[in-house]
């Protein structure tokens, strides 16, 4: 059982990493198009030479041809298949695959779709999930997205996926279609998408290419997400040199539904119809499969001499918005037996997965697929990643009603096949069979690799390079300057330049969004029941210790959700790593998976799904290991949510949790010294759990007027943000027994800043003591400055200017 699945995953050829090539270039001379039946001993095919080779009718390779022409050379390597994988396909079929079959297997057995390098490790999630953790999970690992029961008959589904490589090649469309893909995954569960969030990572903020990538990605997320009417409620933006040639663009979506509306992807019931609906199928996003087709560089998409189209798909959010409303109407009318989105691997994936998960076979007539280009080959139609398409299984009696709903939304819908007896997926084209395979061998029984895992000796060097000797500020004026410098640094400064390009209000249920610790949306308007979500990962911690670092990512997301007043209930992830062929990367990956799974077991909340993205590297330099962890929380009434920052004057500021001298992987070491080394902060998940329970208890009882998580940049940054978000200062005194520098900048985990009305302080203190959570009084809110004893006061305007100016000055003025 894989912890994450291919469905809806989007794919570009992994080998294009670090290259700006839009379409992967085959290593050798491409095999020419098959020119009809060919003598078995015919000469090897050459590159396309003339217009004759463009005639589609001359290109189609059928099962019949595969039998009569068994030894024809096929470009399996150019499609990313290893020789032994190709051999296995021949073994499964008892003959050579047709072009269309080869295209299907190649894309479905790719790393992105088959999880062939990660499967053996991901099984650990299943082995560590207890019965108690399973109890609220309605659908988990292996479905389009995990589904959690949040009470009162409501279910919530959520998932993060990567769209890293396309977003480097073409930032706007890559990021836009990343949003589109994750939204369709959520729709495929029967849910209404209600919010999105985007964890993003880029090269250095002042890097030469960062502006191109960041501006395009942000505009793409906004352009697509805003047009879908989905509030963007969170995410992250992190800058690090390791992402310069390989940005990370992860997209999270949350959906809600009534428990009884849950839909799963399977095709069952002989005679049931397969309906493809949404956009037409075109030549975009075909990627590597283009080696099977003749190629020219002139003409347009619809013409005879077709233009070579980019391998990155092009999104149309208007079609997707209409598709959302159309799908929801279909669900509510009870017209859908099974449903699957078309994402990575397009129809190849949708048909093989639906058939594989069902109890019969499937027959599909490709001639019925509505196309937007002429002369497409079966392999191209099956591989196209044209966006905004869904595939449904519908009983024959419901087909007319289904079509009527689609017509109302002006959505094209076409019966393209039906569920059959038996266990074959058969696909016809112009009356001939071009695919005849056992669907399970395509969708679920792909190759599995146990890649070498080896901790590199370089890890010892990294861990030994402790930050203890780095020069530290000591004088009050130095500490003051350091607070300002940190607040203005790219990873800590205000994200408003980015998040102001996203609509956070639409649907009218957003009760908290960036810069709050967690995004929160109301699910039920009557009861106020809602959900909160946070995604986090400090990849520097993960680099220093992948096991502990991943648990710290989990701890931070968990703590952020708790800080907002919600109770954490489920976990998703997006595991972004370098090449699985690098044993050290596989060691990082293995450790991260184990750390996350063990951490979830300790916290008692399940991993409901996730995504793996390998080959994130530039040349042989992998990115920092970046297992982004998303935690979902539930809150009985969003009105009891805890606001971020200092919301009132005269409240007491309390620091919950203990501070230790922990600077390995810290933002301070990174910003001030460009240093990465030593050990990450200690992780204590029991302490995190006690803290979360205390926060839940205090917020439900209305004891907290504000709260803010301590993480990157430590207490200093938390105070700066609490002041600026709340629009008021505070008079504070640091813990006397801790060195002021350590108190301000250490990044010890399990700490939260809370504000409490003076007459409730003793109550909160007593609850903290009972819960075993250390509590320290720091001071009182109010005034025009962040005034920390022993340090010259920092006026709010000076702080605001430092915090807010960085991104606009790097990436262009805000519209304002």
């Amino acid at each position: 059982m894989s912890a994450a699945r291919a469905t809806g995953g989007r794919r570009v050829a992994p080998r294009s990493v670090g290259s700006t090539a839009v379409t992967p270039v085959p290593a050798g001379p491409p095999a020419g198009p098959p020119a009809g039946p060919r003598p078995p001993a015919g000469p090897p095919a050459g590159p396309p030479t003339g217009i004759d080779s463009l005639r589609p009718s001359a290109q189609v390779d059928t099962v019949q041809h595969a039998t009569t022409d068994p030894d024809r050379a096929q470009p399996h390597r150019e499609l990313g298949l290893k020789d032994d994988e190709y051999g296995r396909i021949r073994e499964i079929l008892g003959r050579r695959p047709t072009d269309a079959e080869l295209a299907m297997y190649a894309v479905m057995w790719s790393e992105h779709c088959s999880y062939k390098s990660s499967k053996v490790h991901l099984g650990y999630f299943g082995r560590t999930t207890t019965t108690q953790m399973h109890s609220t999970m309605l659908a988990g690992i292996g479905e389009n997205a995990g589904v959690v029961d949040i009470g009162d008959g409501w279910a919530v589904t959520f998932k993060v996926e990567s769209h890293n490589h396309p977003s480097y090649v073409e930032p706007y469309q890559g990021a836009a279609t990343g949003v589109g893909g994750i939204v369709r995954d959520i729709m495929a569960m029967g849910a209404r998408p209600v919010a999105i969030a985007d964890p993003l990572r880029f090269g250095p903020a002042d890097g030469p290419d960062t502006r191109r990538v960041l501006a395009g990605v942000v505009a793409g997320i906004g352009g697509y997400g805003n047009s879908l009417g989905l509030p963007n409620i969170g995410g992250e933006v992190v800058f690090d040199p390791s992402y310069a040639g390989n940005p990370l663009v992860n997209a999270l979506c949350i959906g809600t539904m009534r428990v009884e509306d849950l839909h799963l992807a399977f095709a069952s019931g002989t005679g049931n119809k397969i309906i493809l609906f949404g956009a037409r199928t075109g030549l975009d996003g075909i990627g590597g499969v283009s080696v099977l087709a003749s190629e020219t560089f002139d003409g347009d998409e619809g013409g005879k001499g077709r233009k070579k189209l980019p391998s990155v798909q092009v999104g149309d959010p208007f079609t997707e918005k209409v598709l959302i409303e159309c799908c929801l109407e279909l669900f509510h009318a009870g017209l859908v037996v099974g449903i699957q989105d078309l994402g990575g691997a397009g129809l190849s994936c949708a048909t093989s997965e639906l058939a594989s998960a069902g109890d019969g076979g499937m027959r599909v007539d490709l001639d019925a697929v509505p196309l937007r280009a002429t002369g497409m080959t079966p392999a191209e139609i099956l591989s196209s990643e044209s966006q905004e398409r869904m595939c449904a299984v519908v009983t024959p009696d419901d087909v007319d009603a289904f079509m009527a709903v689609c017509a109302r939304w002006d959505t094209i819908a076409t019966v393209i096949g039906e569920v059959t007896d038996g266990d074959r997926l058969v696909i016809d084209w112009h009356g001939e069979t071009v695919v005849d395979v056992p669907p399970r061998t395509v969708a679920h029984d792909g190759p599995v690799y146990r890649r070498p895992v080896r901790r590199s000796d370089a890890q010892d060097v990294l861990v030994a390079d402790v930050p203890d000797a780095l020069p530290r500020p000591t004088a009050p004026s130095e500490l003051r300057a350091e607070v300002l410098r940190m607040a203005a640094s790219p990873n800590l400064c205000s994200r408003a330049w980015i998040t102001d390009q996203y609509d956070r209000y639409v649907r009218g249920n957003t009760t908290s969004a960036q810069p709050a610790d967690a995004g929160m949306v109301r699910v039920d308007e009557e009861s106020g029941r809602g959900v909160a979500v946070s995604t986090d990962c400090n990849a520097r911690f993960v680099a220093l210790d992948p096991y502990v670092g991943t648990q710290l990512a989990l701890a931070e997301a968990y703590r952020n959700v708790a800080t907002s007043g919600a109770v954490p209930v489920a976990v998703t992830n997006c595991l972004n790593f370098g090449s699985p062929e690098d044993p050290h990367v596989m060691w990082q990956f293995e450790q991260a998976v184990r750390g996350l799974a063990d951490g979830c077991a300790q916290l008692g909340i399940p991993v409901t799904g996730g995504n793996v993205s390998f080959y994130n590297q530039t040349g042989d330099r992998p990115i920092l290991p970046t297992p982004v962890v998303g935690v979902l929380g539930v809150i009985d009434d969003v009105a009891s949510g805890v606001p971020s920052g200092f919301t009132r004057d005269g409240d007491t500021v309390l620091l919950l949790g203990d501070t230790r001298e922990e600077f390995g992987g810290s933002e301070w070491a990174h910003v001030v010294h460009g240093h990465l080394g030593g050990r990450p902060p200690t992780v204590d998940l029991d302490a995190e759990r006690r803290l979360a329970e205390l926060l839940a208890d205090a917020s439900v009882n209305g004891l907290l007027t504000g709260a803010h998580d301590l993480s990157d940049g430590g207490l200093a940054q938390a105070l700066v943000e609490a002041c600026l978000v709340g629009g008021r200062g505070a008079e504070l005194r640091l813990e006397p027994q801790v060195d002021p520098f350590v108190a301000l900048f250490a990044e010890s985990a399990a700490r939260v800043l809370v504000t409490v009305a003076p007459d409730r302080v003793e109550d909160v203190r007593a609850r903290a003591v009972a819960a075993g959570v250390p509590v320290h009084t720091l001071g009182v809110t109010g005034g025009p400055a962040l005034d920390v004893e022993l340090i010259p006061a920092l006026g709010l305007e000076e702080l605001r200017s430092a915090w807010e100016s960085t991104l606009p000055s790097l990436f262009g003025d805000r519209a304002t």
Partner: protein, 217 residues
């Protein structure tokens, strides 16, 4: 409450209407039927994907010919954001909305000054009252020729003006305008997102919807 394909803020506007104490009635772009409503809200979003030009295609939808006719009889009509663009395209309001000056989509809590309470949609507000309402648009920059601007100012038909920051480069800081009879109002900011402090920056936006209940029949 009209829904076009691509309309996004229809549920939000319906909620605001309910909060104000009225019944929200869903109207479909393809129908020729206003279903007996007393006032029409054209909500925000990206009708028809904003293809061709924001609001241009929606202004030709069957329901809009009914809205134009009803407005001619004095029915109150409110266009919010994309709805404002549609009313301009339909000829019910003067001027046009073009790409923001900064080119980016802008989502922010925007301070507005009420410049006219003599419309069907602002009578529950006070003259010169300042309210905070979310603005979220990429093509929200109001433009008109000099004569039109002079006419709007002269006739007191500038209904809302941006205060503090002009977020999109709008002419004369104009956020919203009205028809000659004050029955049709369009504005770029979203009063329906300022009806509950839990989900918006303030609740003064509700007054827009309460206003129309005083005059609608």
């Amino acid at each position: 409450m009209i829904t076009f394909p691509g309309t996004l803020d229809d549920a939000d506007a319906a909620r605001a209407v309910r909060y104000a104490g009225a019944e929200a009635v869903a109207l479909w772009h393809g129908d020729h039927d206003l279903r007996g409503v007393a006032a029409v809200v054209v909500p925000g979003g990206f009708s028809y994907g904003d293809y061709l030009r924001a609001g241009a295609i929606a202004s030709l939808a069957p329901i809009m010919s009914e809205v134009v006719a009803a407005a001619g009889r004095g029915m109150p009509v409110l266009g919010i954001c994309n709805g404002f663009q549609i009313l301009c395209e339909a000829g019910l309001l003067p001027g046009a909305l073009v790409r923001n000056k900064g080119l980016h989509f802008v989502c922010r809590d925007q301070r507005l000054r009420v410049e006219s309470t003599a419309t069907a949609w602002t009578s529950a507000l006070r003259n010169s009252q300042e309210i905070v309402v979310p603005l979220k648009s990429g093509e929200g920059r109001f433009v008109a020729d000099a004569a039109t601007l002079e006419e709007l100012e002269g006739e007191g038909r500038v209904v809302f003006r941006y205060v503090g920051v002009n977020p999109n480069g709008a002419a004369a800081d104009i956020a919203g305008v009205s028809s000659v009879d004050g029955r049709v109002v369009g504005l770029m900011p979203h009063p329906e997102h300022a009806v509950d402090p839990l989900t918006g920056p303030a609740r003064e936006g509700l007054a827009v919807f309460e206003s129309v209940l005083r005059v609608a029949v």
